[in-house]
């Protein structure tokens, strides 16, 4: 109980004093995760829509694979990305290992299946509703996907937030490919792992509380932002 209270007061102290290191690693957490999320959404949302409207032979297998990939262990993703970007690996010449870019790549791999799967489920339900209408209007496949994405934007926001949540709290993969380098690749989660390792539970817990607060702010802000758009279906 004492440790929990100490963690709370540590979190307050870091925020009130605007700790420079805290601001730096928090901004880097946001930079890495938001970039990864934008890329994952750019791939995952249209993929989900495409899988909802398109019928093809391997569709079931693709969807099953996508759902299975949600459970991909981040450590394994980290190891694979490490081997790819290592100087001895195929992309070694790019010199991307131990940079935020490598962390973004790992996070994109981790969250894209999740974003695509949730988007697919939401748009599949919407598609069963819109199917006759869109077919009778002779909408092209592209128009159908765009319509589903526009009218299903609340559900797609849920998909994006789920992806954000998985990425911002992820530590296994980015520890391996980022290296937790102070001032270069340290983010909130790897800092928490480091402080736990040093037995500084209060500081680790304080950082954890800030991480939770950050996720809450992003979630609230995106819900607020979407409601300000013109009145939609819901």
């Amino acid at each position: 109980m004492n440790d929990l209270l100490a963690g709370l007061s540590e979190a307050l102290r870091l925020i009130v004093t605007l700790d420079a290191d805290l601001i730096e690693i928090t901004l880097r957490s946001l930079q890495v995760t938001l970039t990864a999320l934008v890329i994952a959404c750019a791939i995952g949302l249209p993929l989900g829509g495409w899988l909802a409207v398109r019928r093809f032979r391997m569709r079931r297998a693709v969807i099953a694979t996508m759902n299975a990939l949600i459970g991909l262990p981040p450590v394994v993703v980290g190891l694979i990305v490490y081997l790819m970007f290592s100087r001895s690996g195929p992309f070694g010449v790019l010199g991307l290992l131990f940079t935020p870019t490598a962390m973004i790549v790992a996070q994109v791999i981790i969250i894209t299946p999740l974003v695509a799967s949730i988007a697919h489920q939401a748009m599949r339900d919407l598609w069963s509703e819109y199917h006759d209408l869109l077919i009778s209007m002779n909408a092209s496949r592209r128009q159908r996907i765009v319509t589903l994405m526009l009218d299903g934007r609340r559900a797609l926001l849920t998909a994006a937030l789920a992806g954000f949540g998985r990425a911002i709290g992820e530590v296994g993969a980015i520890m391996i490919v980022g290296g937790n380098i102070d001032g270069a690749t340290r983010v909130l989660t790897t800092a928490i792992a480091l402080e736990t390792g040093r037995g500084n539970f209060a500081l680790a817990l304080g950082l954890g509380l800030i991480l939770i607060a950050l996720a809450l702010i992003v979630s609230l802000a995106s819900h607020w932002a979407l409601r300000t758009e013109r009145r939609g279906r819901w």
Binding site: R87, S88, G89, G183, G197, G199, N200
Partner: protein
Amino acid sequence: MLLRAILLCLLPVPALAETVKLAVTTSFRNSGLADVLLPRIASDTGLDVQMIVVGTGQALRLGAAGDVDAVLVHARAAEEAFIAAGHAPHRRPIMYNDFVVVGPLDDPAGTAGAATAVEAFTRIAESRAAFVSRGDDSGTHTAERAIWRDAGLHPEGAWYRPVGAGMGAALNTAVGLEAYVLSDRASWSNFGNKGAMRITFQGDPALFNQYAYLPISGDKHDAVAVDGAARLEDWLTSNAARALIDGYRVVGEQVFTFNATR
């Protein structure tokens, strides 16, 4: 405004100084000495040393793959094999500290009365007192295995728990289980979660722990910052390094002793 802030944090930060990637062991990082050395290295040499904190085994793997420019590790046999394989031109001893046996306050195995590390370990094994092993091929793990080997013991059973984790995580586990654990002195002194544990055995020369610096050879990987690694080596063996390392105190106690030769 908000957009600009977002764009600003999306842009990569330009590198200002020459960077050297240095793989260091968890025990070195957890001791807190790095926080003292790095700012001074930056101001003296202009080098931006980026530390990647891993066990000695993984540090050498990163070095062999050319992913870091130098390593600072503590497992002599593994270092010599590393040089023999052509991954590094030489090893440079920098400093030493020692390992200590950390255990419960009441020392159920009676390690405090042991004359040698081998005897302390034998008493732990005979009393079947819980023992947490790093189990990760790190320098500390290598040292621990050497003591078991010298004692002629093959630790196994429910009392012996290899956790496969860094020094800090192993200490947290040992504190939670009230188990014995072999730690380097610096990590333990600087550890924030000591619980009901203390140093129960120390002082045997067999527990000597030498840290050495190995620059990675540029022969196999063009991208290795050979110059930067050499300048870092110069600094680490300088009098400035000696003053900082010998002067570093954790709770009033000196934890590292500089022993590099120029």
